[in-house]
């Protein structure tokens, strides 16, 4: 899908083993597949169906989304940062598109 914008905010870890708060938001209609257009036809489902947050290749959280997640999906969670490195955030769209964002941690 065109024009999808991920936003990520991560606290900066100050030492190895620190716990940081992560917030993510992505612009996406999360079309449920249950709505009808003006002509009464069902609008096909198109949602982000999976979101993952990894740090240096290790999983923080792996989320399975259903159509009951609101427009512009928002997640907040806590990650442990064991060493300097990079968060990789990945959103998977029903249409096969994949959106990513990263965040570097150095301390």
């Amino acid at each position: 899908m065109e024009g999808v914008r991920p936003r990520v905010r991560v606290d900066s870890a100050t030492e190895a083993g620190a716990v940081v708060e992560v917030k993510t938001l992505i612009s996406h209609p999360m079309e449920s597949g249950l709505r009808r257009d003006g002509d009464g036809n069902l609008i096909p489902r198109q949602i982000i169906n999976r979101f993952t947050a990894e740090y240096n290749g290790e999983m923080v959280i792996d989320v399975t989304l259903e159509p009951a997640i609101s427009t512009n999906p928002y997640f907040e969670f806590d990650a442990t940062v064991p060493e300097p490195g990079t968060f990789t955030f990945t959103w998977y769209d029903d249409d096969g598109d994949v959106y990513t964002s990263t965040n570097d941690q150095s301390f």
């Binding site: 999983m59 923080v60 989320v63 399975t64 009951a68 609101s70 969670f77």
Partner: protein
Amino acid sequence: MNLTRRQALITALSAAAVAGILPRSASAQSLEDAMAAFTGGAEASEGGIIITAPEIAENGNTVPVEVEAEGAARITIFAAGNPNPGVVTFAFGPLAAVSRASTRIRLAETQDVVVVAEMADGSYQMAAQEVKVTIGGCGG
């Protein structure tokens, strides 16, 4: 049958009142199916989960919900009053600091938000909280 406008309205309202209950019992069944799919049929015991959600949501389109279950490997949220009960499943990896996550969900009507957690030892916990969804005066 010749109905006056008022009789027609009353009939429609009674039908709606009945209809308001029927889909709920129908979806309660599918909630159980959805729960069984998550737990593999295992019993879930109550407690061990903190749900933070508004008692009253100003709009069912965007209801903030936070779930936390200490030591859980996975936490899933169900909304029994929605057309489909599944909402979201969080699987916590080795770098999740705590088994906690927040998101925003759609609730079609006033209902119980049901949360089930799979604990590290493979057992299951569950909790529920009612969220009232208001219908504002202004369609706008």
